[in-house]
Every structure is written in C-alpha cells, then in structure tokens.
C-alpha cells in the first residue's frame, strides 16, 4: 500500500441530504463511491493519503436523532451520531452514570480532534485501535440504524468483521447509540499505551468494566475488551469466565491477565511489535482489573 500523502484533499462532492430517507437512498445508489460524513477525523486523513477515493461525502450530521444526548432514568442513555466526544465527556449524565465512556473518550487524540470526532464514527470506522469501542461494547451499546429498508438496531457483538469492516450495508446510517442502565455498583477503567502519554493511537488498549454479580460463583463479574491486539476489538472471554468463578484476588487478576494476553493475536506495525503488544496487554489488563476493583470496593 503506497501512501500518497498530499496536503490537499482530492476532488469530491459534498452532499447534504435533507432527510434520512434521502441520505440512505443516495448512499445505496452509489455503493463504494459515497460515504457518510460525521466528524471526518478519519475520512479526511484517508482521503488525503489517497487510500479512500469516494466521489461523494454525505453529511449526516443534521439529520433526525443525531444531535442529542438523552438520558432516561428507566431506559438509559442515547447519544446521537453527531455528538462530538467533548460533548460526551462534559455531559453531566455521562459523568454520573457512564464515567467509563467519558474516560475512554478523553483518551482520544487531542481536544481539537475531540471537538469533531464522534463515538459512532469511532465505531463505524472499525479500527481495532478505536479507543471508545471497548467501553461501548462493555456497556452493551446498541446501534440505531436507518437503512433503505427503514430503521433497525444492531448489537456491537458481531458488528465488527475485520479492520475497517462492519456488517453495515450501503445506505446504512447509524443515527445514534443507546446504552442501557449499567448494573449498580459497577466501575470501569480504560488504560491505553501509546508512544506518548496522550494523543497517540493505542499500541494496546484495555477496557475493564466490572462489579457485583450475584449470579456468578465469585459474586462478581469483570468484562474485558482489548484494543489493537486483533483484527477486531477483542473481548477476552476466557479471562472473563475465569474471573466469574474465582475470587477477585491479586493472584486471580494476574492469571486472568495472562489468559487475556493468550487470547491476543496482534501484529507488528509502526507503533509496536506483536510480542510487545502481547506483553503489554497482560500488564495493562492486570492493572485495569486492580484499578477497577479498587473503585468497586471504595
């Protein structure tokens, strides 16, 4: 793959449809040639690099249901596709009920990029390095989608097919993401390793979300998602299962971290080697479990 980095964007047409129906129809009529545009923080980079050559960018930011954050005491939280990450981070209901989501957003890039970047865009871009994807999966996020056949919902489990690939079809527009109410007493941690303290893409990212779970033999459940260690955002299922039947001790956290690292299948790339990623996934998982446990038992 040659990168043809050029400061100017290639020619394309910017389209701003008046409705979701119009937008889905246009996208479906130009498969492979048209792309929905939210914050553009991934799209513009790819287009300048010559990797994506869409003829049309279809701005879906002002369409129905994309601009609001709505919290309902009984139902949970719905975040519109066009809501930027800074808005998510500072929203009082996110801070009160979904602090893990704010934590994850805060690790993305820089303040300026977070003024444009969106959670839905992070998900649809489907990079295994996506910082917010782990939190969204562990919080049981559900995507609201408008397509050529109307509205539907998709779970995040099974949504990702590979790097940059999802189950979405031409015409599909994700309008918002919904999170049910989290379990009482649960806490979460997102730990990210980059080449610098802030702003880099994740060499490895670990999201842990856990707390009291009477149905588990251990009385607790810990959910674990890993970024940048597989072709898709990875759930460390064996580690999760182990922790549901053993007491939450430092030794068991360490063993769970080992299981999580075993589940990883990372690659070598410019940011790190596969071997390093596996080792760091283990370290960060252990740390994230300990930190989460401290929060749960505070």
């Amino acid at each position: 793959m040659t990168i043809n980095a050029h400061p100017e964007l290639p020619e394309f047409d910017y389209i701003r449809p008046a409705s979701l129906v119009e937008a889905s129809q246009f996208l479906a009529q130009h498969p492979g040639d048209a792309r929905p545009l939210l914050g553009g923080t991934d799209i513009l980079v790819r287009m300048r690099d010559g990797i994506w050559r869409d003829r049309y960018l279809v701005d879906v930011k002002k369409l129905d249901g994309t601009s609001e954050i709505i919290f309902n005491e009984g139902l949970g939280l719905t975040i519109g596709a066009a809501v930027n990450m800074n808005q998510v981070i500072t929203h009082p209901q996110v801070q009160a009920h979904y602090p893990l989501l704010a934590q994850a957003c805060r690790r993305v890039a820089s303040y300026q990029l977070r003024s444009r970047a969106t959670i839905v865009g992070n998900i649809c871009n489907a990079s295994p390095a996506g910082d917010t994807i782990g939190a969204c999966m562990l919080l049981d996020g559900i995507l609201n989608i408008h397509g050529i056949n109307g509205l539907r919902q998709e779970f995040l489990a099974g949504f990702f097919l590979g790097p940059g690939k999802t189950i979405l079809s031409p015409g599909d527009i994700v309008t918002s993401i919904h999170f049910p109410l989290p379990p009482a007493g649960w806490a979460g941690t997102y730990l990210k390793l980059g080449r610098n303290t802030w702003s880099d893409l994740a060499i490895v990212g670990v999201t842990v979300f856990g707390g009291p779970h009477p149905a588990s033999a251990s009385g607790y459940r810990f959910r674990i998602a890993l970024a940048s260690v597989a072709p898709v955002p990875l759930i460390a299922a064996a580690a999760e299962d182990y922790l549901s039947c053993t007491p939450p001790t430092p030794e068991n956290f360490a063993h769970a971290a080992h299981l999580a690292a075993e589940a990883c299948n990372p690659i070598d790339d410019v940011r790190g080697s596969a071997r390093y990623r596996k080792a760091m996934a283990q370290k960060l998982t252990e740390k994230a479990l300990q930190k989460t446990w401290l929060e749960v038992t505070r």
Binding site: E11, F12, Y14, T41, L44, A109, Y111, L113, S115, W198
Partner: protein, 157 residues
C-alpha cells in the same frame, strides 16, 4: 465538482464565500479571506497549527470542510485582540517569551483562549492536557504553560 456558497462570520465580520467541496476551512481562511495567521503544519489533524474557534470550540481547521461552515462563527488568531488591545494570553506569551519561530503560536493562542473560556482557573495538568494537540518544536512548552497560568491570573484580576 460542486461549488457551495456559504455565509459565515469570521472574527465578527460577515463573509459570503464560494467554496469547492474539497476546500477545507483552513484553505478558505488563508486563500479566500487572506487570513494567513492560521497555519498548515501537518494537514492531518495532529499538530494544531491550524487551530481556530468554530462556534466557540477549538478545532483543527484542516479537518473541517469549508462547506460544513455555512452559518458558522469562526475566530482566528487575527480576531483575538480587541480594539488594538492584546488578549491576555497574547500579552502573557510575549511576557514569558513563549515564542521562538512562532509557527505554532497562533494555534497555541487559540487553544489557550478556548481553555480559559471553558475553565478560567486551570491546573498545570489541565493546561498541558488542553495543549496536547498543539505541537511546538522550539520552546519545550514550559514558557507556554507559564504564560497560560499567568493569563488565567490576569483574567481573574
């Protein structure tokens, strides 16, 4: 290739501009409005030299299409001083020698202005976190951080 006629305010002035789809806000400011204070450093949303306020929020203008800015309000570095009086952050960065080559400076000033607007009394950590997206190759950031702390103090006074 589509041309879009957009209307927006830039530094308080009403502007109407015809822009092609692929023109970024940065290109429009520099090439159509001759506001060359905002710089192109990386064209990838990483260095922050192109930072402007878009509807009050600090953004990388190289990552925003001009066509997306119809009806928007933009502040560039040229718009910080009011009636010939420098913004406190501008005065502070001069007083603290927080400028060497000056290429990052417009972006630094806008990011700092945006920070002080939302958080008038930031801690050192909050200042550093707010400036993560503004790379400076020359100064080592220490004098910049001091300048922002000082500007916050001056504003409160």
């Amino acid at each position: 290739m589509a041309i879009h006629r957009i209307s927006l305010t830039v530094n308080g002035e009403f502007e109407q501009v015809d822009v092609p789809s692929q023109m970024t806000l940065l290109q429009m400011l520099r090439e159509k409005l001759a506001l060359t204070g905002t710089k192109n450093g990386c064209a990838a949303g990483e260095c922050g030299a192109c930072t402007v306020l878009l509807n009050g929020e600090a953004v990388n203008s190289c990552m925003v299409l001009a066509a997306e800015c119809d009806g928007a309000s933009v502040i560039t570095v040229e718009g910080l001083a009011q009636d010939g009086v420098l913004d406190p952050i501008q005065q502070a960065i001069i007083d603290h020698s927080g400028v060497q080559c000056g290429f990052c400076t417009p972006g630094i000033l806008i990011s700092s202005r945006a920070l002080l607007n939302r958080n008038p009394n930031p801690s050192e950590n909050e200042i550093r976190e707010a400036l993560v997206g503004n790379l400076c190759r020359c100064t080592g950031y220490l004098r910049i951080v001091d300048a922002v702390k000082d500007a916050a103090r001056r504003q409160q006074a």
